[in-house]
């Protein structure tokens, strides 16, 4: 996984680290739809309420993919960390969701 090679944080200033280079905004997004079986199961589960595990899993997968894409972009421009990461989700059509992850790619160095 790409995310093993890069540091991620949603804090923009990290004590103990110095930013030696700002490389700008990186982003990754994915639009996913659940398949009809999952949709059907979620519809049934919705009668009794509670967690809709199928959707949770779907959104987790999508979020991981968005992060991976963002990480790929950051690694390509030579960053070793992404700071100030933000997430945003949009329900663009019935049954499809877009997950967007964005942040600032930087070269981070640990202060001695």
């Amino acid at each position: 996984m790409k995310t093993d090679k890069i540091l991620l944080s949603n804090i923009e200033y990290l004590a103990g680290y110095t930013i030696s280079k700002h490389l700008g905004l990186v982003q990754g997004s994915t639009v996913r739809a659940k398949h009809i079986g999952r949709d059907l199961m979620a519809g049934l589960k919705n009668i009794v309420g509670g967690e809709l595990a199928g959707y949770t899993e779907l959104l987790n997968e999508s979020r991981q993919e968005a992060i991976d894409r963002m990480a790929t972009q950051a690694l390509a421009i030579g960053a070793n960390a992404i700071i100030n990461v933000r997430f945003s989700t949009a329900n663009i059509a019935a049954g499809a969701a877009e997950i967007l992850a964005y942040g600032t790619a930087v070269v981070l160095e640990r202060k001695e």
Binding site: D4, G16, V48, G50, E51, L59, R63, I67, A90
Partner: protein, 163 residues
Amino acid sequence: MEDLIGIGFLLILLAGAYLIGTVGEKRHYSSIRKREARLSNILIFNEKMPPTIYAKHEFALVGGSVVMSSDYFRQTIASLKKLVGGRLTSFESMMDRGRREAILRMKEEAERIGAKVIFNIRIETCMLTKNQGGGGERGLACAELFAYGTALRAHGASLQNNA
């Protein structure tokens, strides 16, 4: 006769949804309370800047999400309640459970990587409804709750990101 069968079926559906929904809710709350007690040693803050005592710590993005829905009975009650307005208790419970669950999952992830503190927590909500703006009968009342933050842990083993 057919109408009676229809009404009977609807009543059974409502009663079943109510029973299973209530049991599920109780079970979920007791599980939430148990895990909240267990994970209370992991401190969470929504402050942006960690104090300088954490300067030597390693960091990683952690997050937890859950998609929650309300049962058919409570949705029906809520749609009736909408006529007079006021508190929709059934949806309050759904959102509360979802949010606490999301925070717990985030804490569990922090625990897995050995972090004791999470800073800059943000909670996002996204409605996932089938009918966009229609608000019709078939609309699923469900929402995704997502909590994320930066976990800090003392300098030690190799850093990993599991967000």
